[in-house]
């Protein structure tokens, strides 16, 4: 492993993608993820890899679709309004089973919103976003080093399950600098060959990439195959972190930047004698329903904290059901919750 370097979240995601063997990157500029695009513009051509600044988000995600069809590791990145534009392409990538990585460095919305950190694209990322019955794996890093390791993981999961994978970060994580030990580059030649890729029908029957069939029975079978794979992902890939939950009366459910802030809140609360813990989903889809269900049976309160009006809160309530109270605290519009603000919210439920 190399030495620690001080890097911005956006740059770490870009560099990790390069080290994960991303051979083609396509994107359109948008704040607050511009440094990711710029890092790729600088480094990809030097490595003999492809960087294209696309004319639009629609084009960028479609270029990803093309590169993924050929079987290379490929990625695009954007921020909330741009990710809305990519939904068409994401639905096609899911429908055609094309491995690909999409980074969303979320900002305030709806509409043009602002360029400050937000977590208001959770529904869009985890519940569909585009049309049709599909999911993609959604990974929510909470620190800059974790953004790097999850980016490496994203490419592996994309290939393993032939699915788009989203890194759901936010403007805070994208802009923040932290010391990070970059992951070692993989050997691209060692990756398994993708027999389904459209690399030219030489010595074999033609390969066809499609998400289309006019026969409802055939399309149903294609859907069932996707659903079979989603069940497999739910079984194998749930990831989460629990912090000081062993003796907790109150647990905060939070992900990403918010979860990082909650770690400070736990120290403050425990100094005042409040037994507070953290449940942090790392995979937002598949959501860790079972671990949270088990945890909720032995606490009084599961307080969800998000930079949104309460989106992950719905999954938390599905997991907890009636086993504990499930209040919510959120900030919107790019406002980042403060440790003190969260602590005063926690105190409402501490007895």
């Amino acid at each position: 492993m190399g030495d620690k370097v001080l890097m911005r979240g956006n740059e770490v995601i870009a560099e990790a993608a390069i080290r994960a063997g991303c051979q083609c990157y396509f994107a359109y500029p948008i704040t607050p993820q511009a440094e990711l695009l710029e890092h790729m513009a600088e480094h990809m051509p030097r490595l003999g890899r492809t960087f294209v600044q696309a004319e639009s988000e629609l084009a960028a995600i479609s270029m990803v679709y093309g590169a993924a069809s050929v079987g290379v590791r490929t990625m695009t990145s954007s921020s909330s309004p741009g990710i809305s534009l990519k939904q068409e392409g994401i639905s096609y990538l899911a429908g055609s089973s094309l491995p690909s990585v999409i980074v969303n460095v979320m900002r305030g919305g709806p509409g043009l919103g602002d360029i400050a950190p937000s977590q208001a694209d959770y529904f869009q990322a985890t519940k569909g976003g585009g049309h049709g019955d599909y999911h993609m794996i959604v990974l929510g890093p909470s620190t800059v080093p974790e953004a790097g390791t999850l980016t490496m993981l994203a490419f592996d999961l994309a290939d393993k399950y032939r699915t788009p994978v989203m890194i759901l970060a936010d403007g805070m994580l994208g802009q923040m600098m932290e010391p990070v030990q970059l992951p070692e580059p993989i050997d691209i030649a060692s990756l398994p060959k993708k027999e389904w890729a459209t690399t030219g029908a030489k010595g074999r029957d033609p390969n066809i990439i499609l998400s289309f069939d006019l026969d409802p029975e055939v399309l149903k079978q294609m859907n069932l195959e996707l659903q079979r794979r989603y069940r497999e992902i739910e079984k194998n890939e749930v990831r989460y972190e629990e912090l000081q939950t062993e003796d907790a009366d109150i647990v905060i459910a939070a992900y990403g930047t918010t979860a990082r802030i909650v770690k400070t809140v736990i120290r403050m609360a425990r100094a005042e004698g409040i037994k507070l813990g953290l449940f942090r989903p790392i995979t937002l889809w598949p959501f860790p329903y079972e671990p949270l269900k088990k945890l909720s049976a032995r606490v009084q309160t599961v307080l969800t904290v998000e930079m949104s009006a309460g989106q992950m809160w719905e999954d938390v309530r599905l997991a907890v059901a009636e086993r504990a109270d499930t209040p919510f605290y959120g900030e919107m519009g790019g406002v980042v919750p403060t440790p003190r603000g969260i602590l005063s919210e926690v105190k409402k439920y501490a007895h």
Partner: protein, 237 residues
């Protein structure tokens, strides 16, 4: 008179790069002719094993069925962007994007213009029949003034719907594309012209229907072929 079947010479057959899957195109439509001459060209250039066909949305949505080549079905209008991704990921592939007027010149306008402007080394065949065939005959960006469609029942009126867009000319004024030509398929002479267009790249004087030609005349055959396939199938306005 009895025919000597054993001694008959086969003088005409289906190109090897075409499958025998039954066509979904409407009777009288020129897609069939075009599909055949593309198949013939792929055979002659011996590129079937490294060609990827892009089947977009529209009448050409089933294009992945007609060729014995790898194929990718793509979203409406995004064919030139997907072609960009494929060609950049593997420059050894010959990428052929077969797009209709709605796909190429309406919903895919940005993708079409910018793929051309970047000089992507791809072949786009823009098939202009002035109508949205698959959805039932609505107005296309290239529908003629006065043309009756299901969304212009009184005929296309310029004051309300604008003019048929001259997309080939728009592409031709860009610096990057090496070859832009418009050909028609409504009689034998023009079909032969469209088919043999690849030869015209080597003619110093050019020919009618060629809207732009750049780059060295001694460019490799494949590139010449690719360039020559940029054919807009449309009547002259």
């Amino acid at each position: 008179m009895l025919t000597d079947l054993d001694n008959m010479v086969k003088v005409f057959s289906r190109p090897k790069s075409l499958t025998d899957v039954r066509s979904t195109y409407c009777p009288g439509c020129q897609h069939g002719i075009l599909t055949r001459i593309i198949g013939q060209t792929i055979d002659e250039l011996k590129i079937a094993e490294r060609t990827v066909i892009i089947a977009p949305v529209g009448c050409s949505v089933f294009a992945y069925l007609w060729y014995r080549c790898d194929a990718v079905q793509v979203a409406h209008g995004r064919a030139s962007a997907v072609a960009t991704g494929i060609k950049r990921a593997d420059p050894n592939l010959v990428v052929l994007s077969y797009q209709g007027d709605g796909d190429f010149a309406s919903i895919g306008t940005a993708e079409s213009i910018h793929a051309a402007n970047r000089g992507e080394n791809i072949t786009v065949i823009f098939v202009n029949n002035q109508v949205y065939g698959m959805t039932g005959g609505e107005m296309a960006p290239t529908s003629l003034i006065g043309q009756k469609t299901t969304t212009t029942p009184d005929g296309r009126d310029a004051a309300t719907f604008g003019y048929p867009i001259r997309f080939s000319e728009m592409i031709a004024q860009l610096d990057a594309p090496v070859y832009v030509t418009r050909q028609a398929l409504y009689d034998t002479k023009r079909i032969v012209s469209a088919k043999s267009d690849q030869e015209s790249i080597h003619q110093p004087g050019g020919r009618k229907g060629i809207l732009a030609r750049r780059g060295p005349l001694d460019m490799p055959d494949e590139l010449a072929h690719e360039a020559s396939m940029r054919a807009g199938m449309s009547p002259m306005w």
